[in-house]
């Protein structure tokens, strides 16, 4: 009897989850024209609790998308424009000397939190900051805490870093170290919009009507949705498939395709498998299904793995794209 009740409740909860997700996506799409795949990727990061790295040329609406998402989920949003002179303290905060009536006339050091203390942090053009500054994000992204002045402070929950980077301007940039890249759940490629989408963008942005997203979710609801998403069962065969895919990114693996064997230097870390499985769960919810399938894994694998695979010198020299390796890999790894 209790199971029947739980089943009914679960069915309702799942239905509510799917409805909220659709509402969220619809709200974002009210502002952002096209880029459905990017929106889906960002929402996946939000629901899976992972950080996202958006790569694309300037002007494709990356920053707008992240800001709109923050508005739609009614969460605290902070934007940090990364520049070469940005210091770690500018992000995580710093202790300042406070003197006044509040302190009884005495002077004391008071911690001033940086912009990182927000639910959604937009790290704009993250690769323009020095590695020292970039690494200031490491602890925040991995542990959800910030250590400054000898004190470790928790970040607000939910906490999400959405970073952007420009692939064209390489002058004066600092590529993100592998350890930091591995902290991102997804690396999402933002493509140039098509003709129809451009026309709609022009219509929407050059007219008098300005669209703004309305909050459809809040923090607690988001956390509940995350919990339910993680409860979605995954078949063993799918888990094994995820593991096979991950192992095939390593050039020494038997299942690795020819491109990987020839051009890959390192494969993805186990975080890649976690990312694929979590993202597949979210995707099946977005699709209105109760369990992820192999197609879900195949759909999320490029975003989850492309920043975790390192090409060797030959691959770099010949201009091999990681996405091509992954495409070949997903076509060759056996499903059973």
């Amino acid at each position: 009897m209790s199971t029947a009740i739980t089943t009914a409740e679960t069915q309702n909860a799942l239905q509510a989850l799917q409805d909220d997700l659709h509402n969220l996506v619809s709200e974002v799409q009210r502002v952002i024209v096209g880029q459905d795949r990017v929106i889906e990727g960002v929402v996946t990061c939000l629901l899976a609790g992972g950080h996202g790295l958006l790569e694309g040329v300037p002007g494709l609406g990356k920053t707008l998308l992240i800001r709109t998402l923050a508005q739609a989920v009614d969460l605290e949003f902070a934007r940090v424009q990364f520049t070469p002179d940005l210091m770690p303290a500018d992000i995580v905060g710093t202790s300042v000397l406070v003197q006044g009536e509040e302190t009884g006339g005495s002077s004391r050091l008071e911690y001033q939190p940086g912009p990182i203390f927000s639910n959604i942090v937009l790290a704009d053009e993250i690769n323009r900051a020095t590695p020292k500054t970039q690494s200031a994000l490491l602890e925040a992204m991995a542990e959800g805490t910030v250590t400054a002045g000898g004190n470790t402070r928790p970040l607000p929950v939910p906490f999400l870093v959405l970073a952007t980077q420009n692939p064209l301007e390489m002058e004066g940039t600092y590529p993100l170290p592998e350890a930091q890249l591995d902290r991102f759940l997804f690396k999402i490629q933002v493509d140039f919009p098509g003709e129809d989408e451009l026309i709609r963008i022009l219509d929407r942005t050059t007219g008098s009507d300005s669209q703004a997203a309305k909050p459809v979710l809040d923090g607690p609801r988001l956390l509940a949705m995350r919990e339910l998403t993680r409860a979605i069962p995954v078949a063993d065969s799918l888990t094994r498939y995820v593991v096979r895919v991950l192992r095939a990114t390593h050039p020494t693996d038997d299942n690795a395709p020819e491109l990987v064997k020839r051009y890959a230097r390192f494969g993805a870390s186990p975080r890649g498998a976690q990312a694929m499985l979590l993202a597949a769960r979210v995707r099946c919810c977005l699709q209105g299904r109760l369990s992820p399938s192999i197609d879900d894994v195949r759909a999320v694998a490029p975003s989850a793995l492309r920043h975790r695979m390192i090409l060797n010198f030959e691959g770099e020299a010949e201009g091999i794209a990681v996405d091509d390796c992954l495409r070949q890999l997903l076509g060759s790894v056996p499903t059973d």
Binding site: T6, P233, R289, S291, S293, D295
Partner: protein
């Protein structure tokens, strides 16, 4: 979930049927066709048992068994359904997650997961109820491919493979018909002396239904007509000439169809029979091979093999006989002939002739004729060379089979198979050599029949002609007349003298021998002779370097006298000898610094032929060409053959002798 199970069961059944259809079309059909082609070829061409054709059907049960036993896991079947209907693994995941064991103390999240799984199963069941398994696994027979067509063509072509031409028996579809006008009456001839020939001919005619048999019947017919006075001698000879032309034609065709040289095969069969004859177990097979009965020999060998499997002693005998057979067959396979040399020579002459330039049209015409003749000769020798090689290969194969059959390291089954192969090969080779033998018998019988007809009713005339030939031969044969031997009183004698002694065995006639053979040195001779006043003799002798040797002498003649006599004759004769002597001679007695030098001569490969004229310095060099001498010599021998009732084997031996000594160029 029962709906899901029903759906998946239906899909799996269809998968098996689909596998079977695919396997039958893609594997069983082409494999069956290829097997049929090979089996037909083996049956038709190599005489394999026709049961082999049942193998054609073997791929069908094999494919059906494969389709029936092939595993179709539930998960893979469910994934196939999901893929076909675009269900994103909903059926497969529901099925798989339903089989997961529930945790003993589930957490809240696991409770929620279990509830989701229950929901999934409900959804999967609802979906499966509406799904049709047929489109998931369409039952289609794959269309035939080009390779299937090739296989079918091969099978059809194999149906038309002609059975192996029996190399043994040459059969001619055109019956040999000799016209005899039985209404005409001539003087009947007495052909009592031709009875042995007739027996041979009857034997030849009864054994097989082939050209030699037909020929034998026709010869018998001619002889009968001559004896009954239905035809005269001239007509009989004319008919026999016709038969000879037919025989020559048949020989030519038989020779063209011949694949392996029968002489080599016959020699190999003699060797094989000789080796098998040494053991009691295989004597039956040896006798059969001697008779030329290959089938009987094969059966006897099979029987010997069966017995050898049961008894250790028989096994030992068989192994020893086979080891000896292997040794002898190896020797027979390596037997060289002078065909290669002849071919080289013929090709050289052809090239030389081709380089010559004719100056006048007549010369050109003559040269073309010569070139054609030479080319024909080269072609003939090439064919012969190929046949000899084929025969050697065949003999070598027999040797390998004999070796394998005697090899104790091989399994009993393998040895038995090798013995059976040896039997089959021996049967084939025996039949091939027998065919050659029958053709030769036909030729001999025809020659003998002509001799019989020629001498029928011409006793006096033949005698005069023969004497004339004998004088010519005596004149042509070089050598000084020897001292007159002492004529014995009785026909049998044995003599021993300081010089040469001829042993005379037989009737002694009137007169004195006109010629005797002279042998140098001391020796002992044996001979047989008949004389009618004009003696004739041959001598052979062996001598060594020191003058000690043995000699043999033969005399031949014909006499009219009667009675037995014994005597001793002494005379000088020519002889050829061989022996051993120190080539360096006696050591010199000179007191000097001497040094013996031994020279090793280089020996070339191949057969060398030498003709040695002995005593030329004493008798004077020949002033007649060998060709002319040979012609007279052979003419004399032919005359003797015509007038004597000799056994066929003796006739063949004489003819063979003349073939060997005939002029080569």
């Amino acid at each position: 979930m029962s709906g899901v199970s029903t759906l998946l069961s239906a899909v799996r059944r269809r998968l098996r049927v689909s596998d079977a259809a695919w396997g039958l079309a893609r594997i069983a059909l082409p494999a069956g066709l290829w097997i049929a082609a090979v089996a037909l070829l083996a049956v038709r061409r190599f005489g394999a048992p026709s049961e082999l054709l049942w193998l054609t059907a073997l791929p069908v049960p094999a494919v059906l068994a494969w389709a029936g036993l092939r595993r179709h896991p539930w998960r893979a079947t469910a994934r196939r359904v999901d893929t076909h209907y675009g269900l994103d693994d909903q059926v497969g995941n529901a099925l798989e997650l339903a089989r997961h064991p529930a945790p003993a103390e589930p957490t809240a999240q696991q409770h929620q997961a279990a509830a989701i799984v229950a929901l999934m199963q409900q959804r999967a069941g609802a979906l499966a109820a509406d799904l049709d398994p047929r489109p998931v696994v369409p039952l289609r027979v794959p269309p035939p491919r080009a390779s299937d067509g090739v296989a079918a063509l091969a099978a059809i072509a194999a149906m038309f493979v002609p059975p192996p031409d029996p190399p043994v028996v040459f059969s001619d579809l055109d019956p040999i018909v000799i016209e005899i006008d039985r209404e005409t009456h001539h003087t009947p001839m007495d052909l009592a002396l031709a009875e042995p020939l007739r027996d041979n001919l009857r034997e030849l005619a009864d054994a097989h239904a082939d050209t030699p048999a037909e020929l034998a019947e026709a010869i018998l017919d001619v002889l009968e007509a001559l004896e009954n006075g239905e035809i005269d001698r001239a007509t009989a000879l004319e008919r026999l000439e016709q038969l000879e032309a037919l025989l020559a034609e048949a020989e030519e065709r038989w020779e063209a169809e011949l694949e392996a040289d029968p002489a080599i095969l016959a020699e190999a069969m003699r060797e094989l029979a000789g080796s098998l004859e040494q053991k009691e177990l295989t004597q039956e097979a040896a006798r059969a091979l001697d008779r030329g009965d290959g089938e009987q020999a094969q059966q006897a060998l099979d029987a010997a093999g069966e017995q050898a499997q049961k008894e250790a002693e028989a096994r030992k005998q068989l192994d020893e006989a086979l080891a000896e057979a292997e040794r002898r067959l190896s020797k027979a396979a390596k037997n060289e002939s002078d065909t290669d040399k002849k071919l080289d020579e013929a090709e050289r002459r052809l090239r030389r002739e081709q380089k010559k330039e004719a100056k006048t049209p007549e010369e050109k015409k003559e040269q073309e004729r010569r070139l054609k003749k030479m080319q024909d000769e080269v072609d003939k020798l090439r064919r012969q060379q190929k046949r000899e090689q084929a025969a050697r290969d065949q003999v070598d194969k027999l040797r390998r089979n004999a070796k394998n059959a005697a090899d104790r390291r091989k399994s009993a089954q393998k040895r038995k198979q090798s013995l059976q192969k040896l039997g089959r090969g021996a049967n084939k080779a025996s039949q091939a050599s027998k065919g050659s033998q029958r053709m030769g018998q036909a030729r001999d019988s025809l020659d003998e029949a002509k001799s019989v007809v020629r001498r029928a009713g011409q006793q006096g005339e033949g005698q005069n002609r023969r004497r004339k030939q004998m004088r010519r031969f005596s004149k042509a044969a070089k050598g000084q007349r020897g001292d007159q031997g002492k004529q014995g009183d009785q026909g049998k004698g044995k003599g021993k003298g300081k010089k040469s002694t001829l042993l005379v065995d037989g009737d002694v006639g009137d007169g004195k021998p006109k010629s005797m053979m002279e042998m140098l040195g001391q020796g002992q001779g044996e001979g047989q002779g008949q004389g009618d006043g004009e003696g004739d003799g041959e001598g052979e002798g062996d001598g060594d370097g020191q003058g000690q040797g043995k000699g043999k002498g033969k005399g031949e003649g014909q006499g009219q006298g009667q009675g037995l006599g014994q005597g001793q004759s002494q005379g000088r004769g020519l002889g050829m000898g061989d022996g051993s002597a120190d080539p360096l001679g006696e050591e010199s007695s000179m007191r000097s610094n001497k040094k013996n030098v031994r020279v090793n001569a280089k020996q070339g490969r191949g057969v060398s032929r030498a003709e040695v004229i002995r005593d030329a310095s004493q008798e004077g060099f020949a002033n007649e060409t060998y060709r002319k001498v040979f012609k007279d010599y052979r003419g004399f021998a032919q005359s003797a053959l015509d007038s004597e009732a000799l056994p066929a084997s003796a006739r063949r031996r004489i003819k063979r002798y003349y073939q060997l000594i005939q002029p080569r160029d």
